[in-house]
């Protein structure tokens, strides 16, 4: 079962990377083998939990030894506008004896006790490597628990060792389509309902997008799964359009929702000013096509014109401090190109961007925005080389994820977190202004000059 699921996910026809492959490459799937001793990144369980945990009112129970939950709970910065249950770590904490005797009974008791204590609308149960290895059938336990306890208990079959974090994202999507979406009629579906797939409300940045939608009279039924409530995800099938962000992860879910409920989808991004406008236009085009009031188009254009002008005006004061500075973008996917335009508008030179997690389409867009300079497109940059780039002044600032931050900081170079652990929302128009402002703050901080002056005994003058 799980094998077939993974094989299907690996050959997803809706995936842009796959579309760019030859028939033979496609059949091989995208299961890139990791190199032992030189690998980085999370496992499939990690990816599945990232994708589902933002359902804020659900209980998330990890069936495994302590490492899986104990080492990781409440470390994601995914915001909630209400419930906090999702932030609580909960695990069956398999020990020696459980592994010898099998963990199914313990899992059932764990679900029962947790439901009795927290009364959640649903429980997500995450499979892990060790529980899979000893043959615990979590699907059967979840089914029995659902029936006996009268609460949906959803098995998430993504043990870490089946693959990468990205595969885990997709397996989470499978759990939603198999067990959650379409199980509730909200009774209030309307012509302007949408979902946003692959948006996890990192740093609470949905708050930067939601007001734009609300002003246009567009209702976000649910993000999948940022700041979501279980009941809304269960009713996601009543939306009129789906927007997929972070494209590689949940495109299969979007395709299946289209097949099953005729919901059209498009891949878009709320990172970057032009891209935000394009996303709004695409949402509206789909809604109008499906019967929403055509006047929505004009209202959207008016909003876009107003917001773009306001954003550029808000960024203008930062231009003087940013012009001529060299920025290294080390992220991947949509962000490898979507923020380039705004940086260039500030007069900055993008000296490189990483395309290691990007689709062919992402690559081409990045290349286009960098004036066709192939040299500026990087796969992974070894830390040693990156360190040299900073030391030699080939880059003045890096925008990246937390993993590479110390390469920049130890080279006494400004760094900005633009991945999941960041504390500022960068989505939408206001988000891009925030990003430019943060860059300006980072680059204009007086510590850099102070830090780069050698100590007196090394020739520095006081």
């Amino acid at each position: 079962m799980l094998k077939k699921k993974i094989a299907d996910l690996m050959t997803e026809p809706g995936c842009a990377v796959n579309r760019g492959k030859t028939e033979g490459e496609r059949r091989k799937g995208c299961g890139k083998q990791l190199t032992p001793g030189a690998a980085a990144g999370g496992c499939a369980f990690d990816g599945a939990k990232i994708a589902l945990q933002p359902i804020t009112d659900a209980l998330h129970l990890v069936h495994g030894p302590i490492a899986c939950d104990g080492n990781s709970w409440d470390t994601r910065n995914s915001g909630s506008s209400g419930p906090t249950l999702y932030r609580m770590g909960c695990t069956s904490d398999l020990t020696n004896m459980d592994i010898i005797h099998g963990g199914e009974k313990k899992l059932f008791k764990a679900i029962r006790a947790a439901v009795a204590r927290y009364r959640p609308p649903a429980v997500f149960v995450y499979q892990t490597c060790v529980a899979a290895l000893i043959g615990d059938d979590i699907a059967a336990v979840c089914k029995a628990a659902s029936e006996r306890l009268g609460v949906p208990v959803i098995p998430v079959e993504a043990p870490g060792f089946v693959g990468s974090k990205n595969l885990g994202n997709r397996l989470a999507g499978e759990a939603l389509i198999d067990h959650v979406i379409g199980t509730r009629d909200p009774g209030d579906s309307g012509p302007t309902d949408i979902n946003i797939l692959g948006e996890y409300n990192v740093a609470g940045e949905l708050a930067l997008v939601r007001p734009l939608l609300e002003e246009l009279g567009i209702r976000l039924r649910t993000a999948i799964t940022g700041d979501a409530r279980y009941a809304d995800v269960a009713a996601a099938h009543t939306a009129r359009a789906n927007m997929v962000v972070c494209s590689q992860a949940l495109v299969t879910l979007a395709r299946k929702m289209q097949e099953r409920w005729d919901i059209p989808y498009f891949e878009g991004s709320f990172y970057g000013i032009g891209d935000t406008s394009e996303a709004l236009r695409a949402i509206v085009a789909m809604l109008v096509q499906r019967g929403a009031d055509p006047a929505l188009r004009d209202r959207t254009e008016a909003l876009i014109a107003r917001e773009e002008a306001a954003a550029w005006a808000a960024m203008a004061p930062y231009r003087a401090g940013l012009a001529g500075r060299k920025v290294l973008l080390y992220t991947g996917g949509v962000k490898s190109w979507s923020v380039i335009h705004a940086l260039q508008e500030m007069g900055m030179e993008v000296v490189g961007t990483s395309v290691r997690k990007s689709t062919e389409a992402d690559r081409l867009k990045a290349l286009d925005r960098l004036g066709g300079d192939e040299e500026k497109l990087h796969e992974a940059i070894p830390p040693r080389e990156m360190y040299a780039m900073f030391k030699e002044g080939r880059a003045d600032i890096m925008l990246s994820g937390g993993r590479s931050q110390f390469v920049a900081l130890k080279a006494k170079t400004p760094w900005l977190d633009i991945n999941q652990e960041r504390h500022h929302g960068y989505a939408g128009y206001a988000g891009m202004v925030a990003l430019v402002r943060q860059m300006h703050l980072a680059l204009s901080n007086p510590i850099w000059a102070s830090l780069r002056r050698p100590a007196p005994w090394d020739g520095g003058e006081v």
Binding site: G37, A40, G41, G42, I66, A67, C68, T75, T91, I99
Partner: protein
Amino acid sequence: MATLLPTNKPFTGSPLKLSAPLGAAMAFLGMEGCQPLLHGSQGCTAFALVMLVRHFREAIPLQTTAMNEVSTILGGMDNVEQALLNIAKRVKPRLIGLISTALTETRGEDMAGELKIILARRPELAESKVVLVSAPDYEGSLETGYGKAVTALLDGLLPADGPAFKDARRVNILPGAHLTPGDIEHLREIVEAFGLSAVVVPDLSGSLDGHVPDHYIATTLGGASLEDVAGMGAARLTIAVGAHMRAAAELAQTRTGVPSLVFDRLTGLEECDRLMSTLSKLSGRPVPERLRRARSQLEDAMLDGHFYFGGARFAVAGEADFVWAVGGLVTAMGGALVAAVSAEARPHLAGLPCAQVLVGDYQDLEDAAQAAGGVDLVIGGTNARMSCERLGAGHVHAGFPVYDRLGGAHRVSIGYRGTRDLIFLIANRMIERSGHGHGAAEQDHAAAVAAG
């Protein structure tokens, strides 16, 4: 005396326990030129890595054998071999710490036997020492793994014959996982104040004290060297700190013939006095003037601080020796320890002067605190934060992990000075708590003066 109560709940809510491989990795991070390697799936490494990075705010070299479903079932020694070769080629470490996980231990591999074969047939690995530790996640917590790793390090690196020389001034120190880089630095200063020299194994103060090297280093940034370990036999005494270091201390004594002494904690007046007497006797010197002065400052801190402890209600949660040290201080200052929760059962915890010590999680802490009518302060890691909110209690950030406060690596909580500062830290949190008598009275007074 406390009863040690395991919780027999079917699930762990708001986990306190951490994984043993994470603790083992932490021990290797105190070794110079080292690259720790977890034998498990990539997630085993990623979670431990992220937690260590966030706690120390430093780059953490931690690799994975990247086990997948097939290699797990067929046996993972090919992955181990490849990982060792890749690391040796790319990073060229002096030491590789190979740590098993629940995943590979559940299947059951003869790692020791197979590692021998790999090392014999791969001359490329001759430049790096490899130390193997068995630390499955399903047994114990961070301190368990850390203790096992230090024991394995000594077992693997102590030479069969001791060093030819003896050094009457030398003291070995085996610090427990609850000691910060700042604690280790301070302990070294104390030892040196007696004219002795200290060799610390493992030494997080050399690697994770937060410093800026002038070039790129792919392995740990510093720490105890292989030579430091090899020379342990030359010392007069080995001092271990923390009950979880007992096995390592015993092994060190057996293998080197150097007597060892375990201090289960170095926080608190009596404990520090014991350390000073030991060092004084060993060095043949009286306790130096500045340490006497520090003792006197601690006495004064106890006098000024005890007002805020007496009658106050505390909850302490963390690894066993952290709870032992901090819970001990709080009660020694007159505070009531109404909820003490340890990540694992260790017999010495029964010696804490409170009704019971729970072996459990933050949920147990909340339940115990509520049953006792609430607490004033919770002393524990970042993961205690939601419990504090629900309990309406203040939070003193300490232990592991603390990733929402800066400077944790430099905090000193041992010795006279560290104990003094910990008393101040806790007392100040009590003063900040609204409704605590003195603060409110002063405000009322100030308002009355202002109103004329």
